[in-house]
Point group: none
Chain length 412, copies 2
């Protein structure tokens, strides 16, 4: 079988709706995108529902699909975050997303983000990392700013427990006691151990030198760990093993890197990949070309369109798209002959909504011997007339795997 390679460039949340500030065009229509449109001219395009018509998906779920998984493989946000920041997750681990927070003597949450603490979280995490209670060992690792991930490792733990985080906008409410969410002994035990651990954490962190210094400086101390989104990692076969390929993912965002690790892809990042409009597109394009030399599939993620959609800034979203266009142009320039360049998005984030929606997103495949269609523009209106038609996320990635020569024949 002829085997080829794919570079898939993902514009996070790029799908949108016509907007009055853009002459009633979508940001993709409005933006100057010569490189995307050239690929549309030379390639084949279509419209994709990540899961199904009208169903909004999160960035994690959208990338699960784009990395080749089915919706029911979704392991919950905790495990994805842990993988994203490079923690090792073992089978049976209960993984929780956390905030370092400020709690007063009566258990009232003064600030869910401990004054958006940026420095000292490594030391604070060190003070509780490795604690053990009733056979359960604790692993804590900070993520960006006030965020962290907590892993409980031990026999007979359950992820079916409630959050201690009272959730925004509930500053001024007490933190919640963790409750079992079913009648199993495992859930009861896990909730009880976690409640004891949270008290211990509070005692240790209240006396921590980093916090003593913060209080001296008039800052809020990071003296509590608010937990949410407990999950376990299902035993998933890495997509790379299933397809017998090597994969790489280039991204600034830890969620995307987490899904990439889950799927068996090499996760590549750099501090200049900011996850915003000022991200280092030259480096991303350069790495994509370097990686495809020894990989079969490279995913390059570009976050900014999603942020501008959430912020309802259509002109800024169009600018972000123009940066994405430049990045794709650089990749196209260095694209090897045996490699497809594909475009997709993980979901729509229409400016007028400010949230992910279930509107379909445009997709495109350019490369060797592709069946060119009649469409020559990459956007939500024109790609609806593309030769790929309307397809689901799984259908789209399977189309790519098929072009790569990696899908097993059924029958003989």
């Amino acid at each position: 079988m002829l085997q080829r390679k794919v570079i898939l460039a993902i514009a996070d949340g790029v799908g949108d709706r016509p907007h009055p500030l853009l002459n009633h065009e979508t940001p993709l229509e409005f933006a100057k995108t010569p490189h995307l449109d050239k690929l549309a001219l030379m390639g084949i395009s279509g419209m994709m529902d990540l899961i199904g018509s009208g169903i909004p998906v999160g960035t994690d779920m959208g990338h699960m699909i784009l990395f080749g998984y089915q919706p029911h493989h979704y392991p919950g946000r905790g495990p994805i975050e842990a993988l994203g920041i490079g923690m090792e997750v073992q089978e049976g681990d209960v993984v929780l997303r956390c905030n370092f927070a400020t709690v007063d003597d009566n258990g009232i949450v003064v600030d869910r983000r401990a004054g958006r603490i940026r420095q000292g979280t490594d030391e604070i995490a060190d003070a509780i990392n490795g604690l053990e209670l009733q056979g359960v060992k604790v692993y804590v690792k900070p993520a960006t700013e006030h965020r962290a991930v907590l892993i409980l490792r031990g026999a007979g733990l359950s992820e079916n427990i409630s959050d201690s985080d009272p959730k925004a906008p509930n500053d001024g409410c007490p933190y919640q006691e963790v409750q079992p969410l079913d009648d199993s002994e495992e859930s009861k035990r896990t909730a009880s151990i976690l409640n004891n651990l949270l008290s211990k954490f509070h005692a240790i962190l209240s006396d921590h030198p980093v916090n003593a210094k913060r209080v001296e400086q008039g800052k809020l101390p990071a003296n509590f760990l608010l937990t949410r989104g407990a999950g376990k990692l299902a035993r998933l076969e890495p997509v790379t093993d299933e397809l017998n390929i090597k994969g790489s993912c280039i991204a600034g965002e830890s969620t995307v890197l987490g899904v990439a690790r889950l799927a068996g892809f090499k996760a590549i990042t750099d501090s200049s990949m900011t996850g915003n409009i000022d991200t280092n597109i030259e480096l991303k394009a350069k790495l994509a070309i370097e990686e495809i030399a020894h990989s079969d599939m490279v995913l390059v993620h570009f976050k900014a369109p999603d942020l501008k959609g959430h912020d309802n800034e259509p002109l800024e979203k169009a600018k972000a798209i123009e940066q994405f266009d430049k990045m794709v142009g650089l990749i196209a320039q260095g694209l090897p002959d045996n490699t497809y360049l594909a475009l997709a998005a993980d979901h729509s984030t229409p400016c007028e909504v400010g949230e992910h929606t279930g509107d379909p997103v445009p997709v495109l495949i350019y490369g060797p011997s592709v069946r060119r269609d009649r469409n020559w523009r990459y956007n939500e209106i024109d790609c609806a007339y593309g030769g790929l038609g309307h397809l689901t996320g799984n259908e789209f990635v399977r189309t790519l795997y098929g072009l790569m020569g990696r899908v097993k024949k059924l029958g003989n």
Copy 2:
């Protein structure tokens, strides 16, 4: 999440095929439909298979789908008819559609419709309503003309029984003994009780004053109840609860009103809604605008195209479509800014066939920030080039729910 509303106008059976009497155009192409075409110009369109390619559906099933259910939720025609005429259906009830019929002394069905009896059915029904036999209580309510609904209420009943109705065109055949359709005790008992009840009904009705008078006048007596389509109501969550919306349905036809009640929609009707071409389109449009003010979704049903398709009257069908066009124009005139106006049909009823077929039907969505496509005509040919592509009934309604902001995000 941004939440919006939808008015969905349904032209029953509007889908058709090119017809020689219409210059080989379909009735939708042939009819003058300025309002439908304006919505096509300003909106996005597509083609819909209610369930799947080539599969014809009944009006009840088609509406089940349009109200948001899956095909396997279909409870049988009996329960839908019962809800349609405002009967209360309880869990465990076996519900049957019936005809008041004329049977001679040998059990031969002389007329399945008792001379299309129109008056006196309330009194006749009263004579058998409330009867009890072996712990089973009988509820009978007349519908239009010779039609009625029979409910058997009691413990341990089964809907898996055959029809006593020999079906058209079998006048002159004996009525059928009801048989259990499986080996369960429940089915055997239900069949036996119903056979006994039918004999009792016959005895009571034969002596009824309404029938005595009919015989005097040379009319056929309504002395028997032919039963068919036994069903039980599955415990279905109302769509309105699932989506957390308020819904209203405006229709003249009891089947549609029954499905509406099942789905948790307020069922609105009026005697001037005739279910034919002379229906009160001004009232329907006025009510649609009034209802959407305090509802999230309003379905407006228009029956006439289906009737003209069944009757193989393509010119009349085109006229019916022009009435539908006027109704839609009136709704569009009063449409609030936050509301989509969508068009659909429950199935095709091609004139040349005179029956429901599995030909797909055109659909359309017009409204705030919709992704306008290149199509400007609402019919079976042009909508195949619309931006929605080809989709199933469930995909279409989920698209609407997505635009309404009522579909839960999967992932984070």
